[in-house]
Subunit: 191 residues, 2 copies
Amino acid sequence: MEVLVDHIAKTISLTEEERSQLMSKLTNRRYLKGQYIGQEGDITRILSFIRKGTVRTFYLDASGSEHIISFGIENWWVGDLGSLIEQKPADYNVQCLEDTEVIQISNEDLQSLYITIPKLERFFRILIERAYVSTQKRIVRKQSLPAKERYILFLEHYPEIASRVPQYMIASYLGITKEFLSQIRSQIART
Amino acid sequence: MEVLVDHIAKTISLTEEERSQLMSKLTNRRYLKGQYIGQEGDITRILSFIRKGTVRTFYLDASGSEHIISFGIENWWVGDLGSLIEQKPADYNVQCLEDTEVIQISNEDLQSLYITIPKLERFFRILIERAYVSTQKRIVRKQSLPAKERYILFLEHYPEIASRVPQYMIASYLGITKEFLSQIRSQIART
DNA sequence: AAATGAAGTTAAACTAGTTTAATCTCTTTA
DNA sequence: TAAAGAGATTAAACTAGTTTAACTTCATTT
């Protein structure tokens, strides 16, 4: 669990007292490949920091097909934030694609830590600011680039994820069908 | 400027001292229709809270066509956040679509207020959390709904914006051409 | 009152990406 | 070693949305 405390301490400085206050609220947990950290419809009460493994966040649309919103690997946070902050049923499923180890904190504990360690609020403010900016960039790419270029950028930005995740999931993340991604790939290979 | 302080005090409680500290860092500014609050390429140094008016945030793609990322009306914050937090050239333009009055705070002052009034960090953490969740929902809608349904949802969610902004801009925001939006509208009208 | 220009509409030809369906290649398991 | 199943590929028919271009409407300027 110290891994996470060290990770946080890279952004904000923490006293020994604060480190141990934080540490006392963290728990380790393991999930097997295929297991769900959170499911659509359940209220999300915990935030998970991935120590090892791969995770996807996805939802099912009206016709029952899956759409992947994001992947998570080591050092990423996962959890349905909308559900966590409003304490209403989750829109998204969070599923492990490999055996995965996480460090978790409950929303309740997090809220009380925000009060005892105000700097922690800074850590999460900065984290979410960055997540927001990158989500906005994703909208930009979706609106102005064709699928082939989005795929190439994905490979450049997330080579680690690209190598650990099946292609039909990458297609889903990019917002195209697996068949079309396959065409794009063979077109790239021919070049 | 008290408008903004009151607005913030709805989420976090502020002492008289804190209110006046905050107030001393705020400035009013007016823009005419068509003027830019911020331009692509410039480093964003201020955050603006809209008191009156309508604003759009947009960018130009490689082929020079405009894509609207977001609209802003009364009580919304605008500014290229990516540029503001990393102090690098903005990707986006922020332009007034009507004569607009804003209350502004510089990033520098905001950063120092985060230290003197830690609760302010909470206000912005919560603000960004919500913005993040709604941006993520927008990706979901783009990936799983056809243009017609996205347009209908836009009218439901933002009737105020829909009535104040030309249709070709709504089309741009939805990620479709103005011609196709026109077809959708005539199809809805015929129903 | 005419002329200009910005916003919106309509329609035909086109294309990026989807759908359907068949085939292929691996692993995994019996 | 066969059989089952998950992931990936290919190709043909299809469709949601784009492009191009001509036309309409209405507010603004001259």
